[in-house]
């Protein structure tokens, strides 16, 4: 009997001990592991400045991150602070999942440095719901050894899609299996929409009147069919089906770090991605990243060209970025905000921005000598002069999912006509026929 009681007591103690760290944590934060350096150093500073307070770190891989966050928020079990891709801020704020920050931001002396335009993506109905971590630009990265092997010029400055297709063909002929990787399909998630589809579409139609976008912004309508959408899907079709310049399964890999490695090893010739790759191709958190000079020997980048038709853009760009928000259900908003400002405190934020070669979202950081001295950032910032943003209104996430499905359908070999019809009908299901237009 005594033995049984002892066992029961031991089990109870073990269970309580297991629960202790969870009970002791005062705050929790959920974040994408590619931002670990920013978040974890900020948390360290917060804990040092607030003795006795403990922050529970919920670090998640990038693959499937958004599904998890959406589920946590909708079920009401989200941590106090949540890292959110900027395009989802309006979607989540519109669902009442996030806390408006305006009142608290007024009392924070560093808020004045945030660029107004960049706060727009973190706002909904005139209120700020999150603070941006960085912004970005998008481009075509290429492997320099592959280009030398295929006898292609380097530096490379393609002027049209045909130039890129011709280069990819030469790379393929020279033995590069995945000559041009344009993100596609449902597993690549937002990358398929942003790094691939939108970058191409912005150069596939006239830049006036939103004919090269997913949405007619002034009319608040989504575009179900347009020449730009068709031309973009046709480009995917040429790359993945007609000319087989890309390998579809690379968009469905178990481990996207392997894709970066394949690119560095020369198995991928051209990769459509963004400015973060200057560090993320090796490690987003800066672990064992070679010097800039060594990186420049391996890879280089060029702006995405337009499709070459007169009147269209000669180069395209679209910017996104990530943010950190506070859950509407955070029990202690003031303390959560304290942690948020500890993460975005100038020293921590500047260190992370400069060491990770991220594009600054604050004027005090953008004008800091450590930032202005970075040659990569200077060049990327040049590209940011002509950029645009996503259609970040509630509902965009659904449209983006339909775009991803459309690119997946192209990988399956479906015709552009069929894919466009399905895309259009999907939009009508979601928003109603009066909210969907066709551009001739």
């Amino acid at each position: 009997m005594l033995k049984r009681n002892l066992l029961a007591a031991a089990a109870a103690v073990a269970i309580l001990a297991g629960m202790a760290p969870a009970l002791a944590a005062d705050l929790s934060i959920e974040y994408n592991d590619s931002f670990a350096a920013l978040v974890e150093n900020g948390v360290k500073n917060f804990e040092a400045a607030n003795p006795g307070q403990k922050v529970n770190l919920v670090k998640l891989p990038g693959d499937g991150y958004q599904d998890r966050v959406a589920l946590d928020l909708s079920s009401g079990s989200a941590p106090d602070l949540i890292m959110v891709d900027s395009f989802l801020v309006a979607e989540y704020a519109g669902s009442n999942y996030l806390l408006p920050l305006d009142d608290m931001l007024k009392g924070w002396d560093q808020f004045q440095y945030y660029s107004k335009g960049l706060l727009d993506v973190a706002s909904y109905n005139g209120k700020v719901y999150a603070l941006p971590t960085d912004t970005d630009v998008r481009m075509l990265w290429y492997n320099r050894a592959d280009f030398a092997k295929a006898g292609l010029p380097d530096p490379w400055t393609p002027k049209t899609w045909d130039d890129v297709l011709a280069a990819a063909q030469k790379l393929k002929d020279a033995g590069v299996t995945d000559a041009w990787l344009i993100p596609a399909g449902t597993k690549a998630e937002e990358a398929a929409t942003m790094q691939g589809f939108y970058m191409a579409m912005l150069g596939a139609g006239s830049p006036t009147g939103d004919a090269n976008r997913l949405r007619v912004r002034a009319d608040d309508k989504w575009i179900g069919d347009s020449p730009a959408i068709r031309k973009t899907l046709q480009l995917y079709h040429e790359v993945y089906v007609d000319k087989k310049l890309g390998v579809g399964s690379d968009n469905y890999t178990l481990d996207f770090a392997a894709t970066n490695k394949a690119f560095l090893d020369g198995k991928i010739g051209i990769m459509a991605s963004g400015s973060w790759e200057n560090s993320c191709l090796w490690d987003c958190n800066g672990v064992n990243v070679p010097s800039q000079a060594d990186r420049d020997k391996i890879v280089a980048w060029t702006p995405w060209p337009g499709n070459g038709e007169p009147g269209n853009k000669t180069t395209t760009n679209i910017s996104g970025g990530w943010t950190i928000a506070i859950s509407a259900k955070a029990p202690d908003p003031a303390n959560s905000f304290k942690l948020l400002t500890a993460i975005f405190d100038k020293k921590n934020f500047l260190d992370w921005t400069v060491s990770g070669h991220r594009m600054a979202v604050r004027t005090d950081i953008a004008t800091d000598p450590a930032y202005t001295a970075d040659p990569f950032l200077a060049k990327a910032t040049e590209l940011a002069k002509d950029t645009t943003g996503r259609d970040t209104v509630p509902g965009y996430a659904k449209v983006s999912a339909l775009v991803q499905q459309a690119t997946a359908d192209i990988l399956d070999g479906k015709s552009v006509d069929d894919v466009v019809k399905e895309y259009h009908d999907g939009l009508v299901d979601e928003f109603g026929a009066d909210k969907v237009v066709t551009i001739q």
């Binding site: 589920l71 909708s74 178990l254």
Partner: protein
């Protein structure tokens, strides 16, 4: 009626009700979750965005979309191929053949085969997915250890034959169950019957077809019932190995449902897909359960 109840039971209604509580809670929970899925399958409820707050009843629209929008039917077809070849043909036949071959065997040979089978079964799905990816890509073991030494150029099996790779991986993973079940079934057949058939002049094939299989018929049906349900709703290995791709080539219904519910965020549509899956598995189960009955 009351007079037939034993006095002991009548006096113990209170304690009996208390004893029944866990079962009642379980049944209510089961009905609640199924009811939840059925209810929301008639709405446009979404995970995020305006429809997460102001969802509407949309009648049978979600069910109509199963047939009018692409995705469900093609995904159902992929699921049928996956289930038929990996479970019904692969695991079941392979499991039976192995069980029959190992029947008379004792010692190291049998132990090695059983350990190998069990390892596949016991390995977590995600680990298995990594292994299969490491085996079948153009830089995988099959290429580096077999094809390239023989002078063949590297070939990416996962990119070009994703569904076949997933089917083979699932046969490898799930054969242990069928093997164990058939081993036990075969052990239950008395040697006298088989020897009598042999004396009567039945060949090996005839003994299997006319004696063994009819005797273990209920076991076959039980095995089919289990592996069909498991395979029809299987998710982890396929999702980790291919994510449903490339394109939609390995997008089985469970992945399609997951993607629609949590990737796109259409909980209502996802619920309709899940109800359709329940119905399909239900029909298959009824078919197998009928097979379980002894022929008259």
């Amino acid at each position: 009626m009351a007079s037939q109840t034993s006095p002991w039971l009548r006096s113990a209604r209170g304690p009996m009700f208390v004893a029944m509580l866990p079962a009642i809670v379980l049944i209510v929970a089961l009905i609640y979750f199924t009811g939840w899925a059925v209810t929301y399958s008639f709405t446009n409820l979404e995970l995020t965005g305006p429809n997460s707050l102001n969802w509407k009843w949309i009648g049978v629209d979600n069910y109509v979309r199963l047939f009018t929008r692409q995705g469900f039917l093609s995904s159902l077809w992929v699921t049928v191929i996956f289930t038929f070849f990996s479970a019904i043909v692969g695991q079941s036949v392979f499991g039976f053949v192995l069980a029959a071959a190992m029947r008379g065997l004792r010692g190291w040979g049998r132990t090695c085969v059983e350990v190998a089978l069990m390892l596949g079964w016991l390995l977590p799905d995600i680990v298995a997915a990594f292994l299969w990816q490491a085996t079948t890509t153009d830089i995988g073991f099959v290429n580096t250890l077999i094809l390239q030494p023989l002078g063949f150029p590297p070939y990416d099996f996962l990119a070009n034959y994703a569904l076949v790779v997933v089917i083979v991986a699932n046969i490898w993973k799930g054969t242990a169950w069928s093997y164990l079940l058939f081993s036990a079934a075969l052990d239950s057949i008395s040697r006298e019957i088989l020897e009598a058939a042999k004396v009567d002049g039945a060949t090996g094939l005839q003994r299997t077809w006319l004696v063994t299989l009819p005797i273990i018929r209920p076991h076959i049906a039980t095995n089919m019932l289990f592996i069909t349900i498991w395979t029809f709703t299987y998710f982890a290995l396929i999702y980790a190995l291919t994510g449903g791709g490339p394109g939609s080539s390995t997008e089985v219904l469970s992945i399609f449902m997951y993607h629609q519910s949590f990737g796109v965020g259409k909980l209502g549509y996802g619920a309709a897909i899940s109800i359709a899956m329940v119905l399909i598995v239900g029909v298959l189960s009824v078919f197998y359960l009928r097979q379980l009955k002894e022929p008259k």
